[in-house]
Symmetry: D2
Subunit: 355 residues, 4 copies
Amino acid sequence: MISAAIVGGTGYTGVELIRLLSAHPEVSIDLLTSRSEAGTRADEIFPSLRGISDIVFSDLGDETLDALQKCDVVFFATPHGVAMKQAEALTQAGVKVVDLAADFRLQSLIDFETWYQQPHSCPELLKSAVYGLPEINREKLADALVVGNPGCYPTTAILGLKPIIELQNKQDTRLIEPRIVIDAKSGVSGAGRQASLALNYAETTDNFKAYGIKGHRHLPEIEQGIEQLLSSQFKHKIRFLPHLVPMIRGMFSTIHLELTTEGCAVDWQQAFETSYAEEAFIDVLPAGVYPDTRSVRASNRLRIAVHQDATRGELTVMVVQDNLVKGAAGQAIQNMNVMFGLDETLGLNAAPIVP
Amino acid sequence: MISAAIVGGTGYTGVELIRLLSAHPEVSIDLLTSRSEAGTRADEIFPSLRGISDIVFSDLGDETLDALQKCDVVFFATPHGVAMKQAEALTQAGVKVVDLAADFRLQSLIDFETWYQQPHSCPELLKSAVYGLPEINREKLADALVVGNPGCYPTTAILGLKPIIELQNKQDTRLIEPRIVIDAKSGVSGAGRQASLALNYAETTDNFKAYGIKGHRHLPEIEQGIEQLLSSQFKHKIRFLPHLVPMIRGMFSTIHLELTTEGCAVDWQQAFETSYAEEAFIDVLPAGVYPDTRSVRASNRLRIAVHQDATRGELTVMVVQDNLVKGAAGQAIQNMNVMFGLDETLGLNAAPIVP
Amino acid sequence: MISAAIVGGTGYTGVELIRLLSAHPEVSIDLLTSRSEAGTRADEIFPSLRGISDIVFSDLGDETLDALQKCDVVFFATPHGVAMKQAEALTQAGVKVVDLAADFRLQSLIDFETWYQQPHSCPELLKSAVYGLPEINREKLADALVVGNPGCYPTTAILGLKPIIELQNKQDTRLIEPRIVIDAKSGVSGAGRQASLALNYAETTDNFKAYGIKGHRHLPEIEQGIEQLLSSQFKHKIRFLPHLVPMIRGMFSTIHLELTTEGCAVDWQQAFETSYAEEAFIDVLPAGVYPDTRSVRASNRLRIAVHQDATRGELTVMVVQDNLVKGAAGQAIQNMNVMFGLDETLGLNAAPIVP
Amino acid sequence: MISAAIVGGTGYTGVELIRLLSAHPEVSIDLLTSRSEAGTRADEIFPSLRGISDIVFSDLGDETLDALQKCDVVFFATPHGVAMKQAEALTQAGVKVVDLAADFRLQSLIDFETWYQQPHSCPELLKSAVYGLPEINREKLADALVVGNPGCYPTTAILGLKPIIELQNKQDTRLIEPRIVIDAKSGVSGAGRQASLALNYAETTDNFKAYGIKGHRHLPEIEQGIEQLLSSQFKHKIRFLPHLVPMIRGMFSTIHLELTTEGCAVDWQQAFETSYAEEAFIDVLPAGVYPDTRSVRASNRLRIAVHQDATRGELTVMVVQDNLVKGAAGQAIQNMNVMFGLDETLGLNAAPIVP
């Protein structure tokens, strides 16, 4: 059994890690830390866990690090800036780290410090950290000590664009025009488990709005992901705008692309199906079938549909996922499975909940 | 024009007062106070008011009382305990007071201090305050200086029981068994406009629960209301349990009553229709028609249905209202209309919003 | 492996059966029938099943019965009146039957025919059918050929009252007054998967109402369940009113009971905990903890809280379940586990989904 | 008083017309027709109208036309294809017609017949019909006999783009690149009042999806609107994709535009404010303030925010409206006000409902 710790398990990604890891056949959650809730059973805060897990939040103070160092893997479900302070000591003790916050996502120090408004405390380790998208970095993940678990929006954007960028690389011809519009929509759980007037039921329900309009931290992460996929000379200008949907879970990213003449000649349905044929969690929907977010609710699946309008020169890619699973905790476990040489789908096979 | 002030207009009852009074043909909102938002236009906090009202929150400090004393009526949309500190000075200056909090609802000092955990600062004034249910206290309201605007649940409970109690009084015979069960359900806006984890969208949506299980402040208010209606020797034991419904506005009270043999002989549909025949805002639905909360959304109407099952000896009374209108701001304005000798429906005739 | 068939799998209980049975380690779904959808893959109708199950709806016409007779168990997720037409032939072939509709719930023919407005086609078989509440009929279920899977409301009502009735029996003293008020609330999925104006999103959302006011089919089922528990001379008058909550899944039953003097002396928290100490799916919450429906979402758990107010002589029992799982498909599988001598929790251990 | 008729008032735009016209000081609803509901009071179908309107649905058969011809104005809240069959007879009798369906929106016969799959029955009248966007066609509307009330999406798209197109015209320089992406989101009431599995609460709630992916009828209407605004040589390629949001009312259109060098030099906030300075219902939000749909709920206001990112060469226009008011019934009444020379805001001044 893999001995796992969760640091900061009082948020939605924390409880989702507990839910999923409790059913994982090769993992035992041996430590769950929280300063604010030390001494409290997790199922007191989340009664849904009654009968599922009897783990207790602990705050070991100075001894926390010692205890974490005895685990095989530590998941950080903490605010940005926490994991990077402990990652070095953990990796030196041979413990693998999966950070669900942003400390190890952006590989440019300048970008990190610009968007997260704090210096990075372990730039050397950052260099060796792997961006945790198994569908792209599976091989690197197998040897990774530190994994930066992707943001929810970047997961949809990068996986939605990957087959296009790769085909463009392969054909060495521009298939899509430079400007890419990603109009994204997320359920409210993406904003985290917090007391906030803006997230109050009566403020959020029967309402729709955009946010992060002046710039969202996931934009540089998407840009980095696309940049890394590009092996050719073609540049792209990514435009990204997130919106808040009155629903609990779910993310829908609409990617508007303009095809070049060469791009119009491609059978994109075929290209996507081929690209993801071997992926357990990526479901390219049949031509003419379009996704809705509930079709992945509570599961690690991400579904993609492509709609190609040759007459208008348009390609539309629609991507759905559960922001708390493939967009956070599920992907973290998928990364862990790869890091420990397990079957990548272990503990992640549960069906979506519909209705 | 009646010069009105609203003290503490940043909550949901506050914005509802602004919305309704802005359309009232005989009222001008001349003062709107808030400590936290002084200097801010109301429509910055509530963009829905853009183009409706250009009033600015003010905090006049020591001069606030002077300014309030120049108005004709002051609405307190504040936490419990605020109105009672200013009511005396206001009434002495001839200003009428409508308190939307609980300071002037319970006429028993002991009850007030038990349930609200604070001493009452003007017990003399409390004696002359009128409980603001126009359908019961219309005559007293005409001369009232201070009105305690009822709680939302008590409004539904008392008006749902009034025809029964009155008929029992009139017939001087017990028509219903002593125990009355009021199983009530409210939308989330009833909990106020506040940052609260329990009210977070992702905590509240697709969820249903009871609350106030160990005792809710509206119970003594309901008991007082029923007590005051009883002119006969019959006592009742009221049982009250509120629940939280994942909807913004709306309140539904289900009142379960057991009929005596004499009670089974009554035509309750007829009794209710007769009782409320002259009331502009009380709508007794035709036999066999049952209410839903949306049928009163954003309006001052309260609808009642009665279902009588002679075989089982059961009477069920179902009452719906918009908790922010007839349950709060609308009723406050209805009270004001009575207090100033205006047509009681002035400013309150807008149709419910469906869908 | 147990070979299972699902007749009529296009509704919400049908897709829930597919979801749960697909993850059951001892069951294989070998047949899925539907007239309207014959030839269609289940995952075309329910894209959430893509990658989970590749089963195809079939309509074998005259050969359907032959095919069903080759299975070990047949689940009927059909309208009322379908299972009873096939149950005899199936049981004669040694096939076990679990009917999720009402054909085998009410053991009184008169009651069945009164409430469901059709004659019963196999009254003999009805006599031997077992009411599928494992927490009550576990022993009978072990040998049952035909199981009537309980209605969702009766599951909450009967399990919420069982410890009380049983203690009353044991003490041979009336502990609660005869009249029992069950004020119940259900999410919309309980109304089934159908095109209906009343269930349209814009009609149902931000709205709350009662229904079945003139009499609901679950009332005689609750009465039968309580009757069967009563071994003493005490009678009860059950009153039941369901309401529709704007949420997808979840059921909350509030049971209002009046305690006798003897009943006031009982420690009901203790009584409930003792009663359900051995039950895997019944969770009696600690004193002072109250349930919400989401704490059981998508799981087979049913949670109960009891609140006792000795001063007022009141006992309140609050019961939550997921209407599609413990209230339907999950309970059907729990019954099947018992019928086949399997561990009762097999395939039913998944954690609730929160948020 | 203007004598008005509503043909087909059983849908959401119908009840919204009744609600709004009942409060209009210069209009009397004298006729309300429906085949399916003839003889039924409107407030039986919509109990929210109890006490607001006592009008009865009628089906006059052959005499319907006679009765309509006695009115001053007829609103058609019918499916596409109904108004065009009666419009000629009505206008010949001097009755003004406002069609809330699509019969008089598209001025190209080919476009109409392609997108609505039926021949147009009065192409001559179509030529003289006015597209009912008062902010664009106010002068023509003053003399119009037949008005095609715009689709909900086109209202947001055309009004969101108007200041840009007009400034481009004026400066005679391309300010935005040709391709315009309109990513639009609508509440469920936009799909109408109908029994439909896809609109069932349990299918729609906690879910998000795109629709009309292969082509939506509002696209040619948007293209026509933009085409008519363009006086210059510049062409645009409009891309439009609608999405369904789990909310009752509200529409949010996100318009993604790429600025040319000349376009980057424009102060777009200023340009929008200037363009709409005189419009009662168009609210250009201050710089840095962004809209949400609830800020216009149940009102005729449409709010616009512009966000300009000079560095990236991006302009984002966000437009919100209530799809049933400014997107349908409210706009129809605004058109009627103009057609009859009334104050354009008459009957349309009610504040939005928040929360």
